[in-house]
Symmetry: C2
Subunit: 378 residues, 2 copies
């Protein structure tokens, strides 16, 4: 029953972990409310939580909450609903209740990528967030972010610029807009087929201890997370780590080593396995193949599949110089060629050969394999 | 005999590869000069080279060359000399003759790191090159670079600022300074215990086809190469690729994705396995352990080894906050702790736990292992 879920979620001291413990122990939310004080005490909840559950202090509050959410045009998703976002359900301790507003279902049906970063950011960071969000949204990706100032706002705005969808995950109640001057941004997000999402009851103010929970929802909803700028002790670094623990792809935009706003993102690339992003394609190629295939154009244009195999093998792309053409012709898509054999066959000095291979690689025509071998990309 | 090596090296059409072929076929330089025209023709050399070898056209020129080099205070190293730089000898086709000037032996006895990049570079690039070269040279690393304008010059200057040693590898003869206005730089390099190195005979002008050969010597002499700035089609990218083929460590300094000078370095990190560099330690940690140990300070100061094991295990570093201290105490250096067990034992919400682990990691106190496990660093 929805009321019991909302009531449990509103209970002081009951976060996602305590709720998960209760559900595991008693099997259902209804059973939690039938439990005895002694049974609840075994789970080492805080006394206030036990008192509130036993006394059912929040039953009427929860009923009023549900009415208020509906009046706002919102909805409440429960962890055991079929419509609860499936990616979010997979994480370590998903919120048991999710307040949503706007076209959440259409947003979450598409591949979701989080674009996040520092509130205090540089113009470079803002522009990069805007560009990446716009390029992703243009291709049907839903851009998820945290509705904060700085990088988050730029990410939402980039998606809006492209006429795309964007989801704002809040650290407050769904009736609060924080920061206040983002009210117009919220209206634009909702007006463009976007959505607002939070785990926090109505009226929850912006308190800092809630933001890590918001961050877990941001990455939980997404296939991957792009950190655009983050200083040394930035919350975005923690978000990135949580995303790694959630088995999400983590991407970071590099920046000058002299910029404190890029210290964290450079660190993520250097020390935490984040993938470096120069452009939206760098994100798309790392997504699951069926998603990537939808986003990325086929390498040789749309007619590729109509060509016969012989045509394709005889194909030499335009705009190659002499060395590049001869090296390209020496390569096949099937048998990796070792660099030594290419030196012999091409009769090129190793530096010219390497230059040609690198040029072909950067044009995505050739792929380098381990052991100094090279093949054509088909 | 040194004259024969110099003569062969001066022969038109005989680069390192053709020389290697000749040495392989005939066993020694002397034997090359005893070969018949028919024998030489089997190796498919250019006719001019064969004529020159048979006629010994350059015998007197080579003798004059040796005298001239000695008069300049330089020396000539031969591929089969014991003093020929051992790292350079390992590469695919090392130069058979190396012209040197200055304290080349003292320079090459130390660990060598190449710091290179574009001639046309930004102030950011110049500053980064200067800083990294200075920090490395301060710790006894010899900074190798290509004596060009831009990043190369900044790298040499950084080493000089630290009072360290630096090696300039030239694409010209050792008697030419290119660019001309680098004459003072050359004097400073030689005056500070540095050296100049080239494979090209005296009087060789700066022609662009010689620069790739210079680049191969730069990386060939070095344990690793740091690319500081490189545009999309920059020669530095090719140098980096050649360095990978020489099994050298390749490092790159990231930069803003909006800067064309950083396009190449970001690409190297993203697509070619170059390691991201924020500071000199990022280079040092990737060098062979015996080299790294000399450069890097021990983690807990010099007294570490005097401490008993019990002391070391009871040690809690200063400046940790409450969560960081409790998480640090839960970790050992021997048994990796899984994140789930840390959640249980610390009673911290996963976001706080992750924040604490990340802080410990960034302070180099804790290491993340694959599979979400963590251990103390000793």
């Amino acid at each position: 029953m929805i009321r019991d879920w909302v009531e449990l979620n509103m209970t002081p001291g009951i976060g996602p972990r305590a709720a998960a413990k209760l559900l595991e122990r008693f099997g259902s939310v209804e059973a939690v409310y039938s439990a005895t004080r002694a049974e609840l005490e075994q789970l080492r909840l805080i006394p206030e939580a036990i008192d509130t559950i036993i006394a059912r202090d929040l039953q009427a509050t929860a009923e009023a909450e549900i009415r208020a959410v509906r009046k706002l045009g919102g909805d409440i998703l429960l962890l055991d609903d079929g419509v609860y976002p499936s990616h979010l359900r997979e994480i370590y301790d998903p919120p048991i209740v999710l307040y949503v507003k706007g076209a959440w279902s259409e947003c979450l049906d598409r591949p979701c990528i989080a674009v996040v970063g520092s509130r205090r950011c540089s113009t470079y960071g803002q522009n990069s967030a805007l560009m990446l969000a716009r390029d992703l949204a243009q291709r049907g990706v839903t851009v998820v972010s945290g509705f904060a100032r700085g990088i988050d706002a730029a990410a939402h705005r980039g998606a809006l610029e492209a006429g795309g969808r964007t989801v704002a995950v809040l650290g407050t109640g769904i009736d609060e807009y924080y920061p206040r001057d983002h009210k117009k941004l919220a209206e634009e997000i909702l007006g463009s087929g976007g959505a607002m999402v939070t785990q926090f009851p109505l009226g929850t103010p912006p308190v800092s201890e809630n933001f890590p929970y918001r961050n877990r929802i941001i990455s939980g909803l997404s296939l991957g997370i792009v950190v655009v700028e983050a200083a040394e002790n930035s919350g975005s670094l923690i978000t990135a780590r949580l995303a790694i623990e959630q088995n999400r792809e983590v991407f970071a935009v590099p920046g000058n080593i002299t910029s404190r706003n890029s210290f964290g993102t450079n660190y993520l690339i250097k020390g935490a396995g984040a993938k470096l992003v120069q452009q939206w394609q760098d994100i798309a190629t790392e997504l699951p193949p069926q998603v990537a295939a939808k986003l990325l154009p086929p390498p040789f244009g749309e007619k590729k599949n109509e060509k016969s195999l012989a045509d394709r093998l005889a194909f030499v792309p335009e705009g190659l110089n002499g060395n590049e053409t001869s090296v390209f012709k020496l390569l096949t898509a099937d048998d990796p060629a070792h660099i030594d054999s290419l030196i012999d066959k091409s009769k090129l000095p190793i530096s010219d050969l390497t230059a040609a291979l690198l040029a072909l690689e950067m044009r995505e025509l050739v792929r380098a394999l381990p052991g100094k071998c090279f093949v054509r990309k088909l």
